[in-house]
Symmetry: C2
């Protein structure tokens, strides 16, 4: 396995976005989000997503130089137009506004329209927690979940991230999609010729299936049946109806190589200043006690540790800080191809050659 | 089946609370919550809960005349002490403050401590929606869910209610616990000698079980595994850590007839004025379109209708308005017993006799 580090990956990703016409400042924001994903071991959303980001910019499905602007007047209930910019530029811009406004007013909410895939949720969770705020962010996404009772995918996996600071312990950062599993797991089972458990997905008629191929033509199931359906719907509405963005079949499908339609998805963020309710240190001490109480619960047979949401990503980040960021062979080839495609260098043959430019 | 109506049930419940020392104004609030439950067909939380409410007041586990007061200074980020009052008095008091503050400031959040079981979630959901606000309320509760990896119940089913107004359609009112099923379903299976599906509960060692009796000594499972665990934990923290209330094993168990310890649970409410982001009527029209899009999704085989969260309760309420509120025989006997116990009348023999007093 080849390993890189945070700094090198950040410089490389920034350079790629710059070569695609993204302003340096914005390219750095986008790189922050991509790198955060690999640094926390969520490697589905790191370098692995670069080919999609690059393609969408090349296809002009995404605007490289958005004029991200507020469209209403409030200081802390902010309606933001992302101007079809990269989601990992629009999202960071929005959370910075959200944090600043919450610090000033005790509370802030930001409704964002005309955006695109905004990257790994824990980027936002960590930022809220670092700012000592309770924060929540959500986004709608390409539909692959059918409404309960329906047979056509109309709702995205619609992830939500919730962050709560603690004292000496890691903050709680819950980062979850509202479907039981991601589509990737179904695809993997299909490739490996394996069955999937009942409860993951339904076929094109809305019937439960154990066949991953039937599931690929069908829909994912939400967590807890109608409960997860309800949560996904709330996220759809707060992200897309409140901001007047696209939902369901109107969303441009970023995973379809031929689709040049903007996603036009929306996000919703909210932050609360804890100190408006009680002394921040009292809260943090109570959070530490809460975390310890839960972690010290008697364990189920065969379990070695009880984890708080987000803890595993913090632990992985500690490890990756030591080992470096692993870059799988498939990803190496894709990064070399990107470097050629965007004009970083036509003669690059190895990942070493490529990443050495960014040391 | 005996049927009563909203007005009669409300007068009866108010009278019961008054006989237990609750002030008339507060008794009416509590009755609002109890009646709302029966009126929407959520009969587990209506008259069926009266014996527990009565016992807890008789045991002095609940304070009949709380001094519910704000303990901080903010106008719209309100810390409230429920003074161990009835949850269905503290909750309505809190939501009224939340709605008023959100209307004035565009946003409000209320953190409530020292409270008790606050009744059916849709009471709060309907109030938010009627006020044209996006609203959310949550509460922690007696533990019966183990943390993922644990074998002891430490977290409640921790329900959350989220309301979003619509135009000509019913508002969306998602009202859900974060466990796959309620404990009642396990108890029922045990009584009927039936197996329970895997995925509902674990035994006392944290192992999955199909035996309801093992489950009764074990824990309920959260929706979506670690996802529901994470959501339940967030609700625990926003309800109880932020407000400095009890959680886990420190909560007084209202279902234990011998427990005279106050629940000391907390709640958290939040409301957003839609019109700060966009014109309210534009939003409502978009909500109608959203609801129609989802309801018109092609249906799964055998499904007649796709429902929006909360729609079934609105439809039930329409029906119950016509038929009256059904009062099962077991409940009739319990209401007669309550009437005797609290001193409404020692000679009452039938539910007719009892409820005729409130016509």
């Amino acid at each position: 396995m080849y390993y890189t580090n945070k700094k090198v990956e950040h410089k490389f990703v920034t350079d790629v976005f710059k070569h695609l016409g993204v302003r340096e400042e914005d390219a750095k924001l986008a790189a922050d989000v991509v790198v955060q994903s690999d640094v926390t071991g969520v490697n589905t959303h790191g370098l692995a997503r670069m080919p999609m980001y690059v393609r969408r910019l090349q296809q002009k499905a995404v605007n490289p130089t958005p004029n991200i602007r507020q469209t209403n007047e409030s200081e802390n209930l902010i309606a933001l137009d992302g101007d079809n910019g990269p989601g990992n530029v629009v999202g960071p811009t929005a959370i910075n506004m959200c944090i600043e406004a919450a610090k000033k007013h005790g509370f802030a909410a930001v409704s964002i329209k005309n955006s695109n895939h905004y990257g790994v949720g824990n980027y936002y969770g960590w930022k809220f927690a670092e700012a000592n705020l309770i924060g929540m962010t959500m986004t709608n996404s390409t539909p692959n979940v059918a409404p309960t009772g329906g047979s056509v995918s109309m709702i995205g996996t619609n992830p939500v991230t919730i962050a709560i600071p603690a004292g000496k312990h890691y903050p709680l950062v819950l980062d979850m999609a509202t479907s039981v599993v991601a589509f990737g797991k179904i695809r993997k089972a299909a490739e490996e010729g394996k069955k999937i458990p009942l409860g993951w997905a339904v076929d094109k008629d809305g019937k439960p299936t154990e066949d991953p191929n039937e599931a690929l033509n069908g829909s994912l199931l939400p967590i807890g049946g109608y409960k997860g359906y309800g949560l996904a719907m709330v996220i759809d509405i707060l992200s897309a109806v409140l901001s007047q963005s696209a939902y369901g079949l109107d969303i441009g499908n970023k995973f379809d190589p031929d689709c040049t339609k903007p996603e036009k998805i929306g996000h919703f963020m909210l932050a609360i200043d804890i100190s408006k309710f009680l002394d921040l240190n009292t809260f943090k001490k109570s959070m530490d006690e809460y975390i310890e109480t839960m972690k010290n619960t008697e364990k189920a047979v065969g379990v070695e540790e009880i984890y708080i949401p987000g803890e595993i990503e913090f632990l992985r980040a500690e490890k990756i800080k030591e080992t470096g960021i692993p870059v799988a062979e498939g990803i190496q080839a894709k990064m070399i191809k990107i470097a050629k495609d965007v004009g970083i260098g036509s003669d690059i043959k190895t990942i070493d050659e490529l990443f050495d430019r960014y040391r």
